[in-house]
Symmetry: D2
Subunit: 348 residues, 4 copies
């Protein structure tokens, strides 16, 4: 009954097999391996972006930070929600790499709105050299609250950014989960909707630790390469990153794994909706959900071994009927039986 995160599960066996298969003889180092040529070509194909710059790094924070640094200047501010991973969970890495600061645009469901974004952008740079200058927008798809932007919503946000001459980054740590849920193409969810650069996640969806940085404007490629090396994120034995990504993209494994995770979540959500004491905080659309449950239910399932984060409040002490907000994440490997066991415990 593990719902704590999608970064704690195993990798898909095909990934281990790919590593073993790649483990023969000498391979050119530092990203010049032949496997990477294949990965680059495949990502360009998937994204229908034959010119896109494609690089691999090992952590999502590295992908986000390096891309945002490449899109910004150190006297700018980056626009994101208060729940953005880049603000809450990266220990100042985006600021370290970019030198820029972050402007938090009000949001409750972790989704930027064009109105709020427009107001936030307009408010900056009204004081000439005194305030920070307008830097890129960063949005997360699927969001940190498990919600999704529609294609129209993405397009409206990037249009707002473009009105001010600024670019948009997508933190796609759960890109595949969003894509499967929306049923659109990668191109539609990114550059066709105005996205300039993407952190294309693999780690939360079945890899050991590989994320692709995809930059749709190839003029930024060399700067990204230098930033990656200077950040100590260029792997010498790069083929082992390439091999993982190769396996991920082969036979649509990435889509398959995301579909499994989403289906797990949908199964969990259906169960939660059936509980009289449970309310969902936001409309779940990918592989995670925030739900409010009475303290006594939390105590019961946690005592039985369920693992997840209670977002506010103390699950152990207080009024048994008080509702506490918790986050439940399903990864691709979660057995359906575990979900059912969890739901039965809640329902008893």
């Amino acid at each position: 009954m593990f719902f704590a995160s999608d970064n704690a599960g195993p990798v898909h066996p095909a990934v281990i097999e790919a590593l073993a298969a790649a483990n023969r003889g000498y391979a050119s180092a530092y990203g010049t391996d032949a496997l990477m040529d294949g990965v680059r070509a495949r990502i360009r194909e998937i994204f229908e972006a034959p010119e896109a710059a494609v690089y691999l790094v090992a952590t999502g924070t590295a992908a986000n930070s390096l891309l945002l640094a490449t899109l910004s200047k150190p006297w700018e501010t980056i626009f994101c929600t208060p729940m953005a991973h880049i603000h809450e969970d990266e220990c100042n890495a985006p600021e370290f790499y970019s030198g820029a600061k972050l402007t938090l645009v009000p949001a409750t469901d972790a989704k930027l709105t064009p109105t709020a974004l427009h107001a936030a952008i307009a408010a900056e740079q009204s004081r000439g050299v005194h305030g920070p200058q307008r830097g890129p927008v960063s949005l997360t798809q699927a969001t940190e609250k498990g919600t999704l932007y529609t294609l129209d919503e993405i397009a409206a946000l990037t249009a707002t950014a473009r009105d001010f001459g600024i670019r948009t980054h997508m933190d796609g740590a759960r890109f595949a989960n969003a894509l499967v849920s929306l049923g659109c193409t990668p191109a539609e969810m990114t550059w066709r909707a105005g996205i300039d650069a993407l952190s294309f996640g693999g780690t939360k969806n079945g890899l050991m630790g590989v994320e692709a940085a995809v930059i749709f404007d190839p003029a930024l490629a060399w700067e990204f390469e230098l930033r990656r090396k200077r950040g100590a994120h260029l792997f010498s034995k790069h083929r082992y990153l390439s091999a993982q990504m190769q396996a991920y993209l082969a036979d649509d494994l990435w889509l398959d794994l995301a579909a499994r995770a989403n289906a797990n979540l949908a199964h969990l959500v259906a169960g939660l909706r059936a509980l009289p004491d449970c309310t969902l905080a936001w409309e779940p659309a990918a592989n995670l959900v925030f739900a409010r449950l009475p303290r006594r239910l939390h105590q019961r399932v946690r005592a039985a071994g369920a693992s997840y984060y209670v977002w506010d409040g103390d699950p152990d002490h207080g009024d048994p009927d008080e509702l506490l907000l918790a986050r439940f994440v399903c990864d691709w490997s979660l057995p359906r039986a575990e979900i059912d066991r969890f739901l039965s415990l809640l329902a008893d």
Copy 2:
């Protein structure tokens, strides 16, 4: 006939097996996995340092940069040789992480000497607040030229540093090769000789991409952890770093692989010494050697498929008898027959 680098070979099969073995169920993320507990305990045991702080990162540049940043302040200067990897091959990463600058201490064989080090340290900080302040010393063992510091030499350098109240870092990308060559213990080559922090290499010696940062003063541990996260070098699925390091240390695999690489190099060196036209630039003591060979020999072996770096000059054009300096590196996986084939080509 691949002598270009020890970062291009395969990983040992035991590493792939360890990854597969680790790939079961959920594991606590971000370095709190149970495998890491074992790795930490084992490294402390190997180094006879029960209090040492131990962290894993994926690149040698990350280990070096994060450790140097932890040992220094942004208004200081770090002392190293002009051949140091941190100066030549890390695209300003040490400066990026630390804010400090580097002072190059003259050396020809990539080895600091106490006299030159003392002079360099003494020369800094003579101008109060105007010049950079004295920061840590960084030495590489085995060096970038394939030479080694004896234990006494290390102790003399760290004593010099300590006379000025500064600390010493060891870049141990080829730590195991040096250790096997010297036939000493890890403790003797580090903290007993006055080393304060170590980049303990795994990648060049049979791993995919894992280096341990070992800090002998545990008071610096928390700062290192924060710097690692802020640098985007903390892995969520950390168990796959742990598993590699576990396999590396089990049954002394790391020592076995280094011994193989060193033996390969010794075999190559014996052959080179027998060539009338070849001279060795420095006394090789680990798994790499710099040798001067006539251009015509370079042309012959490269035409036959040998791969290595010619350090100065153009191998393709010029006087056939001119001596060109080249670097030859042997990794653990290099077949002895390849070395013999290479030597026969040279000898013909």
Copy 3:
């Protein structure tokens, strides 16, 4: 009728005289001039802080940024209001110098409250290494809205900070205005109320460009000195900073000038209060006030030559009766007759 800012007026003639008096012969450079010895002693005396470290810089942003950098670490966050000068008007300088980020604590009148501050501090660092760590609090006295903290309010905020083990900085660009208004001693408004470091403003109160950084914990002095030099803020011909500060402190000129500025503001406020169409946004307590006036009044006085900032809205177009918020600042040099002329224009 100049109410735009207190950074646009002339310096007091005594300052020019002090510069002329200092302009004789050679003087030791880089802050070691004899005048600085006197300034340091005098500031320690005024603050009843015989151990305080005292340094001069030329801009308020330099004082704020260098002090915050000295009080913080690059993986921390600094707590301030959304109206703080360090957030709004310093083009990322505090982030540049410190590496830290800023956490905006909700406030409407530019004053931190213990409750909101406690909540903001408590919310950080709940995620271990993932979020930023808790860094210093920065409060502005007098605030950017012209309001004041009482001594008890300051003490309550610093106590809140100290409960979390963090320190408090005071941006005292208008320190003298606040002090005169509260009628307390410098020690009472700073270290006795728990302040750890102070940007002691001179520029807005009659100097050309001199601010003192006052650090009550002398252990931080050397780091500040190095940061000042590394930031290019150490003056070679430092005596000309010292001379200005000497004149400022002599015969309580600084208090006299602040009293004049405050009296000017009080006179203006009395007139504004008498206007039927005018409302004050916050209770003015120093030398600036925010007031809402109908657009037609703005148009009238600006046409007559009044100069000040309209904070929101377009003074030139729209409903004549719409209330627009404007900021009015009085400096020490403003002639009383100009205020009266401005008030008559409004009253007509």
Copy 4:
């Protein structure tokens, strides 16, 4: 008998008068004062550069660091001599502002040579993304050793830089001294010789603390403005910087002061040359000289009150006849009688 530095003398009385004259009424802040319009126009006229961007800062280190940051990227290296002020005396400020590192090009008289510069530039960037990339060249005119580049020498260096596609900065802390000595025009010594950006010194030549940053490519202007503000180097009461520079340029005061300082130095040098025990280390051409004198002479003149820096060795202890290198600087204000008194003491 003060020969220690040209940063310790008084400012010219005309500067104090200009400050007093500027001290009337309100003036637009942050560099938008009317005086600055005049200064900008005058500098453009003097440099025959009608498009040049012109900014004022208060320290030479600020001018150098901000200009080098504007000309470079954080993954580059800046080429300079080992004696360069930016390397030796700015406590990592150039690295702090730019993120770049410095490559020290061998020189003995503080002058870059095209051959050594070419070799140093060629040696960088030969390792792709691994080493730092080639950044700007920085040369100092007059140099830190008191020597001068001829116009041809400057042109040869900038041509070398341009061959590699990189730009050249001139640290002109003693620009006027060099100009007067060479007898050329400002344009000839800068952009006509290929200089891209200049730190145009005022502080060492009679001002309190004002340097102009002159950028001949106006496309870089806005970035410089943002860097200046972010570095906390933008003055609110900017008119007092403008006024100093206005006085400096009026009636060729700057050239007059430099001529006086140079004449003082020439007088001193003539005397030193006449001494049997004295040798000059480099050919002096501006307002400073390095000379070797026996320890006993140092002891004699210092006992009599002479003030200057002994560059190596202990003036107080050792063989009386040992030659010690010392630096003697003359500023514009040095009385000729003081030089004569000093020379008589030496000659006795």
